[in-house]
């Protein structure tokens, strides 16, 4: 009966997970920014036409409207929620061309699509005509939208074909476009004010400088008299954490399941003996396979034991939290089932200890399950082919170079194929889910960990999860961005991209991989498409500068600062 109880508990857990996620999907509307992409298969015969259409709209909007001083002035004015947007066509020898619209904006998609359609509807309708008709229930809508002379709204179709990111990052999280722009304007005004030949700030104490600058700016920037809006609402903060904890608990639940089943079937002593014996066996095999494959090792500053040691409180906390959640869950299920007569009531202390024992043994079995996964993975890694010199079209490279390094930011889009196999599939799905949730919890200071140049970036699965799409809007050149990956974020990158076909040799999912600088750059380069149309609402602002502007503006919103705080605030000026 015990077995049945536990499995039912598992089913109930999954259902709860489902309910929470459904609830959270509604909660997502509270997020300030949205990132999405619309991947559309292209009729191969019309791919070149589509590229020309994209170029055409780029030429039309980039320049040539004298009433707008800045590039893409009309577009940025008419789509006021937009942060970054791109349109590119990906070519590959493995699939027909894909047209992808990538958009990063404030607020919900419906508002964005309305503004998008009003601004670019005419030409986008032509672009859709270059795309294949979907074979599913959207075929009718496609026909209606692309019919000759059609006036049918595009937005519903684009919204329907939207692909949600699997992992995304919002740099300068919680700052709306309007806020980014007005704080940047304030910065320039302040700078000019301080650079006046004669001014009342130099020589005054810091608190006075703050006071004088505030008085001086209030007229032109009345919003300084209002308190700074919170960047991440308590609600969002809470849900981010809850989602992550739920994910962790479910993961733990699934991983301990084999151990629990074993515990239900055999006596405690036999269980402990079997688990310990298997663990030693597997760990020994891993030890034997731990060495990098010849010529694939790259030593870095990354230190796994140190990281594990630093993370040990979290690991212990994770186990405790999971246990705390699982106990009542299991008891409740057991109780509920007993009500229906499925199982005998188990509310005695004996029942409690029985559950506790099974769960503890389940946790103990992790010393077999986790190493087993690692061993399996390592076995796959030793037999993986990496692609050292993927085919890269020189003409394509030239086209990319022509579109890059005009402003402080750049853009990249990439599609890679995903390695097949059960384990790889589970790892990449669970890994992306976990990474995505983790980023929401950790990347709240505007930066993506040690990567301090990423504005909006996301991954998304395409074609039933057989391809992985990556888009990023970043500061500095593509080469410098990739060097950042190689030199600083190689662990995370290897984890996130290592399941791509041809990725440089990895070790235990996180080692080597992206540290193979040249191979990794070649691999990433070969997966790219020309960013034919790309627009940024603040092309000269880096993530760093936006944060700096925000600190300055927030300081100036305060009526007065202590001398000490004012002095610290002034270091940003």
């Amino acid at each position: 009966m015990d077995t049945l109880t536990y499995l039912d508990g598992f089913a109930a857990g999954l259902y709860l997970h489902h309910i929470i996620y459904k609830f959270l999907k509604t909660g997502a509307g509270h997020m300030l920014q949205t990132t999405l992409s619309v991947p559309l298969d292209v009729r191969p015969e019309s791919a070149s036409r589509l590229a020309a259409l994209i170029e055409q709209v780029k030429l039309r909007e980039d320049k040539g409207r004298p009433e707008f001083a800045e590039n893409f002035g009309r577009l940025l004015q008419d789509i006021p929620v937009l942060h970054f947007m791109s349109m590119s066509v990906f070519h590959s020898t493995s699939y027909d061309p894909i047209f992808i619209i990538e958009a990063n904006f404030d607020g919900p998609p419906a508002v964005f699509w309305r503004q998008f359609e009003a601004m670019l509807g005419d030409v986008v309708r032509d672009m859709l005509r270059c795309c294949k008709k979907p074979l599913d229930r959207w075929a009718t809508l496609y026909d209606a939208v692309t019919a000759s002379g059609s006036q049918v709204a595009l937005a519903p179709y684009l919204e329907a074909r939207t692909q949600k990111p699997s992992v995304f990052h919002h740099g300068n999280r919680g700052l709306s476009r309007e806020r980014v722009l007005s704080e940047a304007k304030l910065f320039v005004t302040l700078r000019d004010e301080l650079d006046q030949p004669t001014q009342p700030y130099r020589g005054a104490n810091a608190a006075t400088v703050h006071q004088r600058l505030r008085d001086r700016m209030l007229a032109a920037y009345p919003w300084l008299s209002t308190p700074a809006p919170v960047r991440i609402s308590p609600f969002e903060w809470f849900w981010d954490r809850l989602r992550f904890v739920v994910f962790l608990v479910i993961t733990l639940f699934v991983l301990t399941l084999p151990g629990v089943i074993l515990a239900l079937l055999v006596p405690v002593f036999a269980d402990l003996a079997v688990v310990t014996f298997l663990a030693i066996l597997i760990l020994a095999s891993i030890f034997a396979l731990r060495k990098p494959l010849p010529g694939t090792e790259v030593t870095t500053q990354f230190n796994l034991p140190l990281l594990l040691w630093k993370a040990s409180p979290y690991i212990v906390g994770y186990v405790l939290a999971a246990t705390v959640v699982l106990f009542p869950l299991d008891l409740a299920t057991s109780w509920a089932l007993s009500k229906f007569g499925v199982a005998p009531p188990e509310l005695s202390m004996a029942a409690f200890w029985s559950v506790a024992r099974h769960i503890s043994l389940g946790l103990y079995s992790l010393i077999v399950v986790l190493p087993l996964i690692v061993l399996w993975l390592r076995y796959l890694e030793t037999r993986d082919s990496s692609q050292d010199a993927p085919v890269i079209s020189e003409a394509l490279l030239e086209e990319m170079a022509r579109k890059e390094d005009w402003v402080a930011q750049n853009h990249m889009g990439s599609i890679v194929l995903i390695k097949p196999g059960v384990l790889r599939t589970i790892i990449i799905r669970a890994g992306h889910r976990g990474l995505g949730l983790l980023l929401r919890v950790t990347a709240t200071d505007g930066y993506l960990g040690s990567m301090r140049t990423v504005h909006f970036a996301h991954w998304a699965f395409l074609n039933n999860g057989s391809r992985l799409l990556f888009f990023s809007n970043f500061d500095q050149s593509w080469g410098a961005y990739l060097d950042d990956f190689i030199e600083k974020a190689h662990v995370g990158l290897t984890l996130a991209w290592g399941d791509g076909v041809g990725f440089p040799a990895t070790r235990f999912l996180i080692f080597d991989g992206a540290s193979h600088g040249r191979q990794f750059k070649n691999w990433a380069l070969a997966s790219r498409a020309v960013s034919r149309f790309w627009v940024s609402a603040y092309p000269d602002l880096t993530v760093n500068q936006i944060e700096r502007n925000n600190r300055i503006a927030n300081g100036l919103r305060e009526q007065s600062l202590t001398e000490e705080r004012a002095a610290a605030w002034m270091t940003d000026l």
Binding site: A51, E404, G517
Partner: protein, 559 residues
Amino acid sequence: MDDGSVTPFTPSASWRLEPSIAAKTQGLVVSGYSSLPTGTALMLNIGTPAAPDLGGGAFLRKLAEIAPVTPAVPGARERSTALAFSWTGLQKLGMAETSLASFLRPFREGMMQEDRLRRLGDRREGQWLDTVQKGGPEWSANTPSPDRSQGARAYQVEVPGASLAIQTNAQVHAILLLYTQTVADADLWATDIKAALLPHGVTVVREVDLTLDVHDNSHFGREHFGFADGLSQPLPFDTSGAVLINDTPVTSPDPVQGVPLGEIMLGYLNGHQEVVPGPVVPGDDRTATARLEPHPEAQGFSDFGLNGSYLVVRELRQDVPAFWRSMDSSAAAIRAADPQGSAHVTADWVAERVIGRSKDGNLLCPGGYLPVDAQGDPNNGFLFLERDRRGLGCPIGSHVRRANPRDTLAPTADQGPTLLAAANNHRILRRGRKYGSKYDGITLKDPRLADPSQPDANQLDANQLDSNRADTADRGLLFMALNTDIARQFEFVQQTWLLNSNFGTLFQEVDPLIGPEGRMTIPEDPLRRTIQVKTFIQMVGGDYFFLPSLPALAYLAML
């Protein structure tokens, strides 16, 4: 100017190559030839030879008689030579198309490719920028755009735009560097060489004198603005023992300046811990005679790159009066805006902040200068994060800090080692020398330069400078740097550090020394100062060259 070495009188000069490797490597890799204070750079153009049947390499055979390329083997010499080729030069020599295609992309495209010029801060939207001499550069390799016409394809719709390869008046196929003990010898030698090469159709299209300007007791040279130069150089190490210091293999990195040998020479482990496959030539009798090694990856090909390197050359003209006028006016502006708090601000004070070091090469620190090391030389083993994180001594935007940020870019103290290691993946070995005469009237007569401790050193006013303006002689720096990955090293330094308008925590300002006119922030407590600096350095010409190993040179001579 830290951007190009005038002298190599730093500890880095003491590293050597393991003897068997040294014998195959050009001496320029290990030495800036500090014992040979004069010299000439001859930019060669290979035209039509009088006797074409001799082959493209005939002039190299002639050259080997009168100016043999100096190996990296230590020894006292009266003359030394280095030789490097542009892509068009190798093409002229008659190298196979497959070989020409095996070099790095930046080298194949040349420095004057339009998109590259934009990244290097030279040209934008069809216009040369102020940091390039009026009318555009005078010389380059004139590397052609590759032909991308693929013929008609079904359903093809033309997309506008193609990248241009800018052409200069003078086309340079090779750069021959001559190092001598006297100016007279350099002139004599150059004359002999020109005469010998003429029958082979090889002409000198540009000649730049190479000067070392070492002051009496100092261990460094000064560039034309008067600042010690060439102080900070990468120190190579090699796990297989190719690098020696005092005959001991250096197998682990120097904590601050250490870079793998593969960052400087092809064929060794580089910063990404790999040996990058170098350019190839098809294996044949000539490769055997020249003793080229088999290529490690391409079966049946020989390794043309091993023990070679890429040489970046940029001729940078310096306008000395403009520099000091700009420093004077910046100092005056600061004093006018803040009469009480800036009596110490002089043109020298501003210039030191633009550079980041004192004239004698000592790093600016909060409250003073970094003391000299035990040998009395400028101390160069410093890091920024601990010492001067906010740039209160050495401004974040100063030239030395941009050219080699060390651990500057670490956002937190614990990331210092990671960011230092990252920065060292973008180092270049500088071999530049200055050209042209010293600025008459300032360099020697200006009391500020002769004796920086002079109390009224800042009193040299604009009039005095103007009276010296008659000296309009051509002078500057022949910037030369060795690296193995041009995009990741030289171009990265230029684009992501020096000319990055968002470097560190800065906004809308670039390198105050080599960049165009604009703002520079000088951090200070409680409030930073800003100055407006002018343009005083302009590019006159430049390109990417390949510095072959001696066996590779022998192969070329057989073409």
